[in-house]
Amino acid sequence: MLDQLARQIEALLVATESPVTLNRICELTGCGTESAEQAILRIEAELSSGGHAIVIARLAGGYRIVTDPDLGFIVGQLFEGKRHSRLSRASLETLAVIAYRQPATRAQVEAVRGVNSDSAMRTLLERDMIKIAGRQETPGRPLLYGTTSRFLEYFGLSNLEHLPRMDEMENLLKLSAEDIERMASELSEEESDQII
């Protein structure tokens, strides 16, 4: 039987439109961080012992209640035709490079992938997976891209550190940093040649 604090938090996690951070939970319920965390565990225990169809997901730096993935085959029917298609392989690769390398320019993405990534990046912008995150202060001042919190939610990630194989990828990127920069700058030169 849930206590009042747990009830309040459960309500927040159901009613919210995007993951709620622990800080916000504390702010809204007036409790401390530790009490909130423990209440979340109590909610989880109660949901699971009751055999409920919902679970607490840790997403994009916060919490929200979602339906159990096991029931996707039933719930998915409600949204038939409205659901986005899966991301293409090109989009996934592009997204992976931006996610680990961010902020990244288009030339850097193309340097790593070895192919034009124009339409993949456009799809990712349209689907709110990446956003413009400024400009690189190099000749041509190319736009920089980073991932969004929608990206984290879409892949069930609680934050960027939870990307698969973060350490391995960071090391690899460090090792290849020079190569990427060189290839990227070659690419941008080629492009400006084409434009002229």
């Binding site: 995007s18 929200r64 996707g72 998915g76 190569d179």
Partner: protein, 249 residues
């Protein structure tokens, strides 16, 4: 046709995400290790594949041809001892390519892990949120979550606005105030709450709905009845205020 040729023909250039992807495929197919492959061997395989794709009149993208040129150059340098000696001073292009392949392979693997997460999380559904129960006009978002792209979309929407709105003509005559009140009087005489849909009944043509809607709004304004809606687009439940109604109807 040799066995090698047949093997090459079965793979379609459309299946690859670029020259690096194709190279990785050829290396894996021949069970070679990315770090210890022989340039000549891989180059031969790659060039053979590209040639066959071209023979089949497949559209081979520029990136594939650039890689073919690079591999050819590497291979020819290997055959020339002088050039090789010169090359030792600078960086070995083969090594650079290998590093690139290792890097690309890692991203490819990560992308397929993301694919797995995608398939799990696509089956997860969040409640739609309860803003409409508490506040209707504002949609929540944190700073930074509205992107430049949203701003561009807003501008795009303005250009859409320049197209004239479609014109709607209501063909049927509207019902009179008295007619509507008569129907409502009968409907609400039971003193219980009734839905707007009940008043309109089967006549869901625009003229009838509009007539009743205007009359209901007018009666609410006059205080003859109360109307509630539990959320946007829900049916409107109406109840008459006895004193005012009896007095006026």
């Amino acid at each position: 046709m040799s066995a090698d040729n047949q093997r090459a023909c079965r793979i379609d250039i459309e299946d690859f995400e670029g020259p690096l992807d194709l190279l990785l495929f050829l290396i894996r197919r021949d069970e070679l290790d990315v770090t210890t492959i022989h340039v000549a061997e891989v180059a031969d395989q790659y060039l053979k594949y590209i040639r066959e794709a071209e023979d089949l009149n497949l559209d081979v993208a520029g990136e594939y041809l650039v890689m073919a040129a690079t591999l050819t150059r590497m291979k020819s340098r290997l055959l020339l001892p002088v050039e090789r000696a010169l090359m030792d001073e600078t960086e070995d292009p083969m090594e650079t390519l290998m590093r690139h392949l290792v890097l690309y392979k890692a991203f490819k693997e990560v992308a397929s892990e993301l694919r797995e997460s995608e398939s799990i999380w696509r089956d997860v559904f969040a409640p739609p949120g309860e803003r409409e129960r508490y506040k209707e006009e504002i949609v929540e978002s944190d700073p930074g979550q509205t992107s430049l792209f949203d701003l561009l979309l807003a501008l795009e929407n303005m250009t859409e606005k320049n197209t004239p709105p479609p014109r709607h003509m209501i063909q049927k005559p509207l019902l009179s105030f008295t007619e509507c009140v008569k129907v409502l009087d009968k409907l609400l005489s039971t003193k219980t709450t009734r839905d707007f849909g009940d008043a309109v009944g089967e006549n869901t043509d625009e003229a009838t709905v509009v007539s009743f809607f205007v009359v209901v709004l007018e009666l609410v304004k006059r205080g003859w009845l109360t109307a509630e809606q539990s959320y946007p687009f829900a049916d409107i439940s109406m109840k008459r205020k006895e004193e005012r109604w009896e007095m006026n109807a």
